[in-house]
Amino acid sequence: MDESRRTLLKATAALLLDQWAAVRLGALAADPSAGAGRKVVILTCGGIRREDTFAESGFHNIPHLYRDLLPQSTFYPFVRNAGVTSHYNTVSSVVSGNWQRLDDWGKTPPSSPTLFEYLRKRMGLRQDQTWLISSNKALTSRIGASTVREFGPAYGANVIFPKQLLINAVVHAAAEGRAVHSSDRSTVQPEIEAMLNSDNYDGLGWAVGGETSSLDLLTLGTMQKAIEDLVRTNAPATGDEFTFLVAAEVMRRFAPSLLTITLSDMEVAHFGSYSLHLAGVATVDRLVYELWAQLQSLPAYKDKTTLFVLPEFGRDLDGSTTNGFFNHRQNSESTRLTWMMCLGDAVRKAQIIENPIEQTDICPTIARLFELKNLDLPGKPMPGLWL
């Protein structure tokens, strides 16, 4: 990615968080020394097949994961998604430790408590200590807290969708018949302003509490500059890049104890472009590597953080009636069987754990890392980690 553009996006991400904190957190904002104990970052991405990643036919798509990170990780090559292989249900299942069977488009919250709620209630953490930052438009903010009465939104995570900000601004402009172009930026500006200032839209700053959001003029100006810059260049622009930059800024500002990031560039597969799908896989590979480097460089995270990296599921078999790699709804090993990589604090030694595990085992594992006891979870902690 063009470095000047990235710098601009970074600044945008920072300002965005400034504004977010001012509106929601007031005097409590930004105490990166908070949460001195263990920290966990979960990074999930959409559907990626094993054959396109951790297989002879796929290693070239993931040079960082395979060459740089695998040798220092605990790697689980057989991780099963035994639930509904849709995005909202899968991420909900990972963070709640129970297979969720919810409306695919996030109409209802998880039906059992999430890790965010367990952590905040049991450990007395503030809301800025648990975050979910997502590229995926299939998710909604309801994923941050369950419907369980003793838990719920009062203990939920901050949930934000940075990519949606850009989509909304640009698509809205197009819907009004105005193409985005550097030469006629003034025609797009009202749409961007309206989008950034609108309350409760399905995007940036849509926290569980449902507070209203608005952006200050400085942030607004920076966003406009970022968008103008993105338009002017013809380099590939990716939503996952922006999501990552916002996540990095959240780590710097708040150093949350539990941060979940979901990436989705590879979901372009739904539109039938295998080459763009592989480009999305390459983006995940690069961003995971950068995330790991970031965790090593931030004092709040260095040597006390465990990073979990996993695809939500695979993709359907070539030749399936569901049109192969386009989709992820087939009841096949290609779709259900995926992998996971663990890096950092909890890793006993670099090793490959071939025993099959399920994605619902992640929640009890993380609960054990935070010394949360007596949780009613069906899964069991994963082998190979210091727990």
């Binding site: 509904v84 698509v171 197009a174 590939p236 739904h270 039938g272 472009s273 295998y274 009841n331």
Partner: protein
Amino acid sequence: MTKTIINDGRGDAQMDEARVAVAHKLIESLPVTMRPALNQQLSAWDSLFAFEQKSVTRFMSGLQTFAPSALEALTQPLRSLEGRMGVAHWNFSESKDTMENASMLARSEFYADWRGEVQRVFAAINAAAHDSTAEIPKPGRLILIVLPESLPVDPVNSWRPWDKRAQAFKINGDARRLSELCIHGRAERPGIMGQFAQQDGRQSADLWMIDAGAHLKEYLAPSEREVASILSYADLMPFRDKFLAGVNTVPKSIEATDQTLASLRQRDWETWWPAELSGQTRLRSFVIDLFLSGNGALIFSNAFVEWAASEALRRARPSVLIARFGFRAKPKPFTGIAIFENQQRISTLPDVDDPQGSATDALILARYIWLAALRYPENKQTCCLCVLEQQNAVYVVAPDGMTLPWGVDHPPTPEEISDWIGRHLST
């Protein structure tokens, strides 16, 4: 005894009002979750292809052979499963397939069991009808896939094989001539169009030409075009743009999406259809179904070609299908983020071709067309040729028992290939 649902002498299914009423009654005897698809087919009878009509009719004939007690015994496990899934408490449409139906079924913990049971019941009922509608042997079939010269496809030896029978041959001549030669043949050697002209009862659904651009139709005289089902992604652009704008109004709610999609289906699109589809109600309905079923058909030309070909094979079982792939542009800034949009409209930056990415996409999607064909029994008579114009080569999967008359030492000329196709189709 209810009125019998029959095939007429030509094999075309008859479905007048009385028979529709009988069919609806029969469908009511089935478990709830089997009803939407069948009711939908009945209500859209005129938009079904002949193969689909025959399939429904055959199924109904099979259903009629079951005594109530036998049907109850056959379907009891499925009804029991529906009870455990709680279908009675769902907002489940029996009149048509909806996204809400699919979503509720897919997130049930019994979904896999349910699929298995539905397949078992369908198979049993179809088997009961089998004797009365024995298949008539069909002549040879052809799938001709063209990867045009502009696509820099990898060498064949680096491909994932399509089929264990597949072979690649260099062409002794100009591969770019092959499509036209196959379609028109040459003196004394009729091509596809000639063969179709000689045979009575051929329908346009028996010959499909699906094109990322608008090249294939140029091989046909205007008078010949009605003989085939011709779909051009390029020619569909005005309709696609308008339809995509409608699809992009879909809200983030499954129930509301079903309503929006239903309204899109009903809308009057007359102004936006290309001239080639004038009066072709069935083909227009096919395109709308295609666009509403996703799979990138509205977004990328090559996804359109693959998905249209796969659906044509599933729904119409044509004797000949020609699919020509093409280009897509590189995603522009922002459209790389919001790709389910009209790139030309969102950004006024000029399009930049992505030949390498397009070639990667086209190659896997070309293979998917053949894999789609393999799902149906007609594949046993089907020869698949993929023409690699840039490499001046052809990749061939021939039916079992058929020996190709070419070899490494004797690369075929385009004329030899088209003659051979002509012979195959007439066998």
